[in-house]
């Protein structure tokens, strides 16, 4: 049926509408060949996931023609369900949340689930389970319970489960958006190995850097293809991408800021810069705008003194951790999944009490009931994925929940709601249903609900996880506003760039403090190896600076942000 047997997926003029006249896909045409790797980018609500579902045969469009693995499954908006069933046997899908994709409590049984559904003989299933668990480097966990694995490991189990069905096309719909850096890079490695086997890959992602390795990039906007081409072609439209709520990879941004030939490859950029003669020696001045937060004499907002903690039936989550937070500063806590970061936050909020040591929140010792109550009044805790706690019919009612519980008079409740919504930039969505907001707005709404309690200290657990670039930017600017108002911030983050912008950084590994200090101290050359060993790395700007210094540049003075790096390089050139 297909024009060429090498074409695995062909969509022509496909449109799809959801209830209420929402256009999810608008006249999309694309072809995918054997062994090709295509990356799909787009802001929240641009139709990426819908496109992923159409390509793996789970959604039939309302208009247009779809041909999947040599089956004409949909012509003129008329789906052929039998053809769909046949085609689906050669199409695989892995999406965001591994929890929803794992159907049993034993890893190897889960990988076997797909092949069982295909009706394969037992011996073949066993061979495939062993092969795919090996491919995703999970063979040691064949008998493990997935709920005891990290998010990254679970997602690899899901990929193995999809691969065990030997799909001709594998669709990965934001597979890394809920994972930490290490989990994400492991998945990118698996994808690289797959492309070599001839499996066509469709990768939907919010991380521009991951798109660099694709053969082709497709950018969606409101359901239509806004840009398409090789990564270099697509990322050369920086301005257009910005309008669409996306960003360009770091190397591309840097090359443009420096006025160099455009590139989105970091090593090309370093080579390009390496050619610049080093006319000036001498290191750059140290970071002037960093607040010196030690020994300022103020009463600390938060003191964690030699705290240790273990969960029931569990191993030690935290051991001998100490931390002091000065009012009005921001602290970043970084570490891998399972390093004890979230546990530390629970201690700080008085949700758990340390087994040893103590936690003081402006003098309130959380080991007493009274102290915990005092601590909870002062601390606002933004959990991971706080939008999952939304419940009310309007944004306003959800945000008012906390102040109402405090028994405040109606006008005070109203004042707090207005202020909180203004702080997060949702003042115009007051009457909307929180479930109708975009992903980023939902998170801001949940944040507003906590800000309405007017906390002195705001504690956030991976506030930008799972958001698209626009959502991340909205959240960062809300946090910057809060910081300007003097709210003390403590945040757990996976992003070294976010950590570099904090006043202090604390690095945790396996429940212990590895290093703690100002960003400059923590990301100093002496710590680089240790940080890499525990899977964290250093900020991108610093990484480029180090590569340049290795290539013969004079010391660039540890730039932690793009601005500092650009200034340092300019200084070195002049």
């Amino acid at each position: 049926m297909a024009a060429s047997t090498d074409t695995l997926v062909r969509l022509s003029h496909v449109s799809l509408f959801y209830e209420g006249g929402v256009t999810a896909l608008d006249d999309v045409s694309l072809e995918l060949r054997r062994g090709e790797r295509v990356c799909v980018l787009g802001a929240n609500g641009s139709g990426k996931s819908t496109l992923a579902s159409v390509i793996c045969g789970l959604l039939a469009p309302d208009e247009g023609e779809v041909e999947l693995v040599d089956e004409l499954v949909c012509a003129d908006g008329q789906p052929d369900l039998e053809a769909y069933r046949r085609a689906r046997r050669s199409l695989g899908l892995v999406f965001q949340n591994p929890d929803d994709q794992i159907v049993t409590s034993v890893v190897e049984d889960d990988v076997a689930f797909g092949p069982e559904n295909l009706g394969l003989p037992r011996g073949e299933i066993a061979a495939r389970v062993a092969r795919e668990l090996h491919r995703v480097a999970m063979e040691d966990y064949a008998q493990a319970d997935p709920s005891r694995l990290s998010g990254g490991q679970r997602q690899r189990v899901c990929i193995a489960g999809a691969l065990a069905m030997e799909p001709a096309v594998l669709v990965l719909d934001e597979p890394g958006s809920l994972l930490d850096v290490r989990g994400r890079s492991a998945i990118v490695r698996v994808m690289g190995r797959l492309a070599a086997t001839g499996t066509a890959l469709v990768h939907v992602t919010h991380f521009m850097e991951e798109a660099l390795e694709a053969d082709r990039v497709i950018v969606l906007d409101h359901g239509h293809v806004a840009l398409a081409g090789t990564p270099e072609e697509v990322f050369s439209h920086g301005e257009k991408l910005g309008e669409l709520g996306l960003e360009v990879p770091f190397a591309a941004r840097l090359s443009q800021r420096l006025g160099l030939p455009w590139t989105c490859d970091e090593s090309t950029l370093v080579r390009e810069l390496g050619a610049v003669p080093d006319s000036q020696k001498g290191s750059m001045s140290s970071r002037p705008h960093t607040k010196d937060v030690r020994g300022s004499g103020a009463v600390p907002d938060l003191q964690v003194e030699h705290a240790s903690f273990s969960y029931r039936l569990g191993s030690r989550a935290l051991g001998d951790v100490s931390l002091e937070v000065v009012p009005g500063t921001s602290t970043a806590i970084v570490g891998q999944t399972g390093s004890g970061k979230s546990t530390l936050l629970r201690l700080v909020c008085g949700l758990e009490v340390p087994d040893e040591g103590r936690v003081l929140v402006r003098g309130n010792d959380t080991s007493t009931r009274r102290g915990r109550r005092g601590a909870r009044r002062l601390v606002g805790y933004v959990m991971q994925h706080p939008e999952r706690q939304l419940f009310a019919e309007t944004v306003e009612k959800d945000v008012a929940f906390g102040p109402r519980n405090l028994g405040l008079p109606a006008d005070e409740v109203d004042r707090r709601v207005t202020r909180a919504l203004e702080l997060v930039g949702l003042a115009d969505r007051r009457g909307a249903s929180p479930f109708k907001l975009s992903g980023g707005q939902r998170r801001l709404c949940a944040l507003a609900g906590i800000l309405a309690m007017e906390p002195r200290i705001l504690v956030l657990d991976e506030p930008t996880a799972g958001l698209d670039p626009r959502g991340r930017a909205m959240l960062r600017s809300a946090l910057a506003r809060l910081r300007g108002l003097g709210v003390t911030l403590v945040q757990v983050t996976h992003s070294m760039e976010d950590a570099a912008r904090a006043d202090r950084v604390m690095v945790l590994d396996q429940g212990r403090v590895v290093v703690s200090g100002t960003p400059t101290e923590v990301f100093s050359a002496g710590n680089e190896r240790r940080l890499t060993e525990i899977g964290l790395g250093i900020p991108r700007a610093l990484r480029v600076a180090r590569a340049l210094e290795r290539g013969g540049w004079p010391s660039l003075g540890d730039p932690l942000t793009t601005d500092e790096l650009v200034a340092a390089i300019r200084g070195g050139e002049s």
Partner: protein
Amino acid sequence: MALRIDIGQYYAADSPVHRMDARVKLLCALSALVAVFCVTNAPQLIAGTAFVLAVLFAARVPGSRVLASVRPLVVFLAMLSLFNLVFVRTGDPLLSLGPVSVTAGGVWAAALYTVRFSLALVLGSLVLLTTTPTQLSDALDSLLSPLSRVGLPGHEIAMVFSLMLRFVPTLADEASAIMDAQALRGGGLDEGGPARRVRSVVPVVVALLASGLRHADGLARALDARCYEGGAGRTHYHDQRLTHRDLIAATLTAAFVLTLIFLG
């Protein structure tokens, strides 16, 4: 974390009970369960306890794990025995405090119901602790296959049961996260008077419902993507084969049931 639920979580180990065919295990457990519930006298109670302890020993599951998995029901058990203690009025009165009096019959009833119920609970949790969800759903599938033949969804019941076991801990974790979050916003379930406490349940339930729907959507997408189309045409990764071990287990269970009948 406060609500970590351990019901129905598989405990990996190598024991005669783990290696039994899941169908035989289910049938044996079911007959033993019914037999234990029919216990009425002391010799039967002793025989029942001995049998359950023997199974526990053979299964090589640590007592703490069994305890953890029955813990949520212990409160219920305690209430049950309290009711029996106070409301059963047969036998000699032993103690009387105003309108409340405790009789010998009450004490016996309290003991009998508590032990009987605990034995059943331990048996049930042992089945879940020693059988993987896949084995369990395969076994249920095969035991319920007569239903499918008359047009009832035998296979689907088995699948739903297995998915339920899989999602209990996930939803429990989410429920506790939601409760923590609402508590920090002054909407804790342990604050204020009864009316306020009841009102505090609403946000938790609504948020949990929304999250349940989200999981259901995701799961449906995953099942479709992995070509799950019901029982027809499916093969099984694990072999279900009867061995001499299953014969022995069935014989021992039959002997136990007969002993109880004989003692009755």
